[in-house]
């Protein structure tokens, strides 16, 4: 990938890395489908969401190239993620203890 970075704007990876990421995503999908067949009890939800989180991390970082973009975008992203987290957390203070 190195030479491509020099040829084009530094923050854009080439075809190869996209295809690699795509293959990774397919692999993760097959893992999550396989794992879903196994009964993990309380961990089922956790494992499924963990894999989904890894997949979305790949998409956000590489496909959406936030990894190569302006740093402020990462701040924005964590801000909205944190807001979501707070909303969930506080709502569940009601739901769990009701």
């Amino acid at each position: 990938m190195e030479h491509e970075k020099h040829e084009h704007k530094a923050h854009h990876p080439g075809y190869g890395i996209y295809i690699l990421v795509w293959m990774g995503l397919l692999a993760l999908t097959s893992i999550t489908v396989t794992v879903a067949g196994i009964d993990l009890g309380a961990y089922t939800l956790f494992v499924a969401l963990l894999i989904a989180a890894i997949k979305s991390g790949l998409v956000i970082n590489i496909f959406m190239h936030i990894k190569f973009d302006e740093p402020i975008f990462k701040v924005f992203l964590s801000l909205s993620g944190f807001t979501l987290f707070v909303i969930f957390l506080l709502t569940f203070f009601d739901v769990i203890y009701r």
């Binding site: 995503l25 998409v59 496909f63 569940f92």
Partner: protein
């Protein structure tokens, strides 16, 4: 500055800011994330309340179709990313081919969705149907959320298809070129978001039994 002074009298100051454009797009995507975030919140609250009934209801969904649609969307995300890489390398043909391929995949996704929904409706599982109303509360809610969340996602796929079609035209007309492709980038960002949401919808509805 001399130019802009003259311009100020007649036409607006032309201003191009790719980073700004992408920033605007990201901010818009955050609103989408929070829009779906509200739905995910409702889902998780009801899943907590009706744990067992959600499990039972989810059994009726077809994991096969869900997996197939996941693969389709992931691949379409790849093709969109490739089209941007292609336009950067001045490969106009490849960029257009990749977007066309994306549109095709999106169409497949919607066709699958159509068969899936019509299957449920044939079984009598639709809002207000007598069969659904006979079920337990948790299952009614599960199907309510299922229809709303996948429906809203489907709507986003349709919007994404419309946007990508415009991009196709823009590339053809050379309005998107190797040194001015922020429109395509933003369309791509939107499409990846649609993919991203599906990445979470898929396990929540099709996998966790």
């Amino acid at each position: 500055m001399t130019n802009s002074h003259q311009a100020a009298a007649a036409i607006p100051h032309v201003h191009r800011d790719d980073v700004g454009a992408r920033m605007g797009m990201w901010l818009f995507l955050f609103t989408e994330v929070l829009l779906f975030g509200g739905l995910f919140l409702a889902y998780s609250v009801y899943r907590y309340d009706y744990h067992e009934q959600f499990r039972l209801a989810a059994m009726d969904l077809d994991t096969g179709i869900g997996t197939l649609n996941t693969l389709i969307l992931l691949t379409s995300s790849l093709t969109v990313a490739l089209s941007i890489a292609a336009i950067q390398k001045k490969n106009k043909f490849l960029a257009m081919a990749m977007i066309s391929f994306t549109l095709l995949l999106a169409l497949f996704f919607m066709i699958n969705k159509y068969f899936e929904w019509s299957g449920h409706i044939a079984e009598g599982l639709y809002p207000k149907s007598p069969e659904l109303l006979n079920m337990k509360n948790g299952e009614i809610i599960f199907y309510g959320l299922y229809y709303v969340m996948t429906g809203l996602h489907g709507l986003h796929v349709l919007v994404g298809m419309a946007v990508l079609s415009f991009m196709l035209v823009f590339i053809a007309k050379d309005k998107i070129t190797f040194d001015n492709y922020v429109k395509l980038e933003n369309a791509g960002l939107y499409w990846h978001l649609v993919d991203l949401i599906w990445i979470f919808l898929f396990p929540l509805f099709y996998l966790i039994h």
